[in-house]
C-alpha cells in the first residue's frame, strides 16, 4: 500500500517500520494458540444491526436473536426476529464464521427505529451480553456520547473481570469513541493486506490490533454480498481469532487472550543489532 492510512490505521501501514517491537512468549505459537480449533463451545455476541439467520454465509450458526426495547421503565432485552436492518451484523457474523466455523452466534440488535435511545440501547445490549457470560462479543459500533462514557467504562471493566472479551472497532473518524478507547477491550483498526489471518499488535495506543478491513468481501442484506472497507470489518477478524483461542483454551481471561494475540501477531521480529541500533542491543 503506497498511500498513507488514517491515523488509527497508520501503524499497520508499514509494520516493518512501525511495529518492530514484538512479544514472543516461548512456546506460544499459532499452532499452540488455535491449531485444530474450530470455535466449538464458544458463544459470540454480535451487538449490531441484527443477524439474518438464514443467510447462506451464516451456515445456520445463529442460536439466539434478541433486541433492546426502550420502555418507560428503562431498557429491556426481549426476543427478536431473525432480521438484520442493514446487513452489517450479518457481515460481521460471516467474517467470524470464516475463521471459527463452529462458534454459536447470538444477535443482540441495538440498532432500531428509536434512534434517540441508541446509545442507551447499545449499553443495555452490552450489559446483557456480559450477564449471559458470553465468551466473546463483537462491537463494530461505538458511542460518542460523553454522558454514556462512565456507563461504558463500567461495563468494559465488568466484561474484563467476568471474562467476556470485547472486540471493539475503532471509529474511522478521528474522534473519541467508546468503548474502543478503553484499555480493557481489544480495539481494532483496519490494515489493507487481503488476508483474514494477518494480525498486527500495536503497542502504542489508542488502537491495539490491526486486522484486514480494506476491500473485504462481506455478506450483506437479503442473502446478498458486497465488498466493504472500514474498521467495522477488521474487528470481527480479531473476534474470530479470539473465539478460536478460547475454544482451545477455555477460561482464559481477556488479559491472557491479548497476550497470546500479541505473541502470535505478524509483527516483524526485533531487528538484529546492527549499525546504530547495536547499542540499543535488544537483550532486555
Amino acid at each position: 500500500m503506497t498511500e498513507p492510512l488514517p491515523a488509527w490505521s497508520e501503524p499497520f501501514a508499514d509494520p516493518k517500520r512501525e511495529l518492530r517491537r514484538s512479544l514472543r512468549l516461548r512456546g506460544v505459537t499459532r499452532d499452540w494458540a488455535w491449531g485444530g480449533a474450530t470455535g466449538k463451545g464458544v458463544r459470540v455476541g454480535i451487538i449490531d444491526s441484527g443477524l439474518e439467520n438464514d443467510h447462506p454465509q451464516l451456515h445456520g450458526r445463529v442460536v439466539e436473536n434478541v433486541t433492546v426495547e426502550l420502555g418507560d421503565d428503562g431498557p429491556t432485552v426481549v426476543p427478536d426476529g431473525q432480521v438484520d436492518m442493514f446487513g452489517h451484523g450479518t457481515a460481521c457474523g460471516a467474517i467470524i464464521l470464516g475463521l471459527a466455523p463452529e462458534v454459536e452466534l447470538i444477535s443482540i440488535r441495538v440498532l432500531g427505529a428509536d434512534l434517540r435511545g441508541k446509545g442507551t440501547a447499545f449499553a443495555a445490549g452490552l450489559e446483557w451480553a456480559i450477564d449471559q457470560g458470553l465468551e466473546v462479543c463483537n462491537l463494530s459500533l461505538s458511542s460518542k456520547s460523553e454522558s454514556l462514557y462512565p456507563i461504558f467504562h463500567d461495563l468494559a471493566d465488568r466484561a474484563y473481570f467476568n471474562g467476556t472479551a470485547l472486540i471493539s472497532a475503532a471509529n474511522n473518524v478521528p474522534a473519541p469513541s467508546y468503548p474502543s478507547l478503553f484499555s480493557s477491550v481489544l480495539s481494532v483498526a483496519a490494515h489493507g493486506e487481503p488476508d483474514p489471518w494477518r494480525l498486527y499488535y500495536n503497542p502504542s495506543p489508542p488502537v491495539e490490533f490491526g486486522a484486514w478491513g480494506v476491500d473485504v468481501p462481506i455478506a450483506w442484506k437479503d442473502g446478498g454480498s458486497t465488498v466493504a472497507t472500514g474498521n467495522s470489518f477488521a474487528a470481527p477478524h480479531v473476534a474470530g481469532l479470539v473465539a478460536l483461542i478460547l475454544s482451545k483454551h477455555p477460561g482464559l481471561s481477556p488479559f491472557e487472550v491479548k497476550a497470546i494475540l500479541a505473541s502470535v501477531a505478524d509483527n516483524p521480529g526485533r531487528r538484529r543489532p546492527r549499525g546504530r541500533s547495536r547499542r540499543a542491543g535488544s537483550r532486555a
Binding site: 461505538s142 458511542s143 471509529n171 458486497t226
Partner: protein
C-alpha cells in the same frame, strides 16, 4: 419592581430575537451555502460522480439530503430516507464510517437508489457528521472515477470533510435558529431556570416573529438584503433618500408627541 425587571428582561429578549431574525434574513441560508461548498470540494477532490450531505430532521424522523454536487448528484437534493435504512442510515445510526463497492450487485440497494435518484452507483463511501452530542447527519460520496473502491486514506479524507461540515452546521445553526440561540443564552445566564420556564420565555420573545412575511418591516429587511449588489453611486443615492425618510419620520414623531 420585580415586574419592571421582568418586563425589561423580556423586552431585551424580544429585541435580541428580532435582531437575530433580521440577521438571518439578511444573510440568507448560510448553512446551505457552507454545506454546498463542502460537497463541491468533496466531489472535486475525490473526482467523484456525486457527493451529498444528509441531515437528521425530526417529526417525522428522517435523513434529508440538503446539498449535493457532481454530475450525478442533483437527483439527491430534497430526498428523504428513513434513518433506519440504507448506507446513509447505517452510518448515521452507528456513527461508523463505511465504504462499499460493488453495490450495484445488491438488488435492494440498486432498486431503491434508482427509484429515488435515477442513479445507481458502483461504490459508495459515507462518514458520520459527529458533534459533541452525537450524530447529526452523514456525508457520502459516490463512485470515484479513478478507482472502483475507496481506500482507507479516502475514508480519512472523508472524515475530515465531515468534520468541517459538522462545524459549519453548528455555527450556522446557532446564528440561524433564534430559538436555539435564546435557549442557550438563557441556560447559561440562568442556571436555575427550568426547561419549561426557558421555553416560555423564548416563546414570548419570538411570538411575533415570522408570523407575516408580508409585514412592511420584513419587506424592508428583504429589500435591504438585496442591496448588496448596488454600486457605490447607487448606495450613496439610497443613503440620501434614507436620510430624507428618517428626517420625515422624526418630524412626524415630534408632531405626534405634541398632540
Amino acid at each position: 419592581m420585580a415586574n419592571q425587571e421582568t418586563d425589561a428582561a423580556l423586552a431585551a429578549l424580544v429585541a435580541a430575537a428580532r435582531r437575530s431574525a433580521v440577521g438571518r434574513r439578511l444573510q440568507g441560508d448560510i448553512e446551505t451555502r457552507l454545506l454546498q461548498s463542502i460537497v463541491d470540494a468533496t466531489v472535486r477532490l475525490f473526482d467523484a460522480e456525486a457527493a451529498s450531505i444528509a441531515l437528521f430532521e425530526q417529526n417525522p424522523d428522517r435523513l434529508e439530503f440538503r446539498v449535493a454536487a457532481g454530475e450525478q448528484g442533483a437527483g439527491a437534493v430534497g430526498l428523504t430516507v428513513p434513518p433506519t435504512q440504507g448506507i446513509v442510515g447505517f452510518v448515521y445510526s452507528t456513527g461508523q464510517a463505511l465504504s462499499l463497492s460493488d453495490v450495484a450487485n445488491d438488488p435492494r440497494f440498486n432498486r431503491d437508489a434508482a427509484e429515488q435518484t435515477g442513479y445507481v452507483p458502483r461504490s459508495i463511501a459515507a462518514a458520520p457528521l459527529l458533534d459533541e452530542h452525537g450524530t447529526v447527519g452523514a456525508l457520502q460520496v459516490l463512485d470515484k472515477r479513478g478507482s472502483p473502491t475507496f481506500s482507507l486514506k479516502d475514508m480519512e479524507l472523508l472524515g475530515v470533510f465531515a468534520g468541517q461540515a459538522t462545524v459549519a452546521i453548528a455555527a450556522a445553526r446557532v446564528q440561524r435558529d433564534t430559538d436555539r440561540l435564546l435557549r442557550s443564552v438563557l441556560g447559561q445566564i440562568g442556571p436555575d431556570l427550568e426547561d419549561g420556564q426557558i421555553q416560555e420565555l423564548v416563546a414570548a420573545a419570538t411570538r411575533d416573529l415570522d408570523v407575516d412575511d408580508d409585514a412592511p418591516f420584513w419587506r424592508l429587511v428583504d429589500q435591504v438584503a438585496r442591496l448588496r449588489s448596488l454600486t457605490d453611486r447607487e448606495t450613496e443615492l439610497l443613503t440620501d433618500i434614507l436620510d430624507v425618510v428618517a428626517a420625515h419620520a422624526m418630524r412626524g414623531r415630534r408632531g405626534r408627541s405634541i398632540r
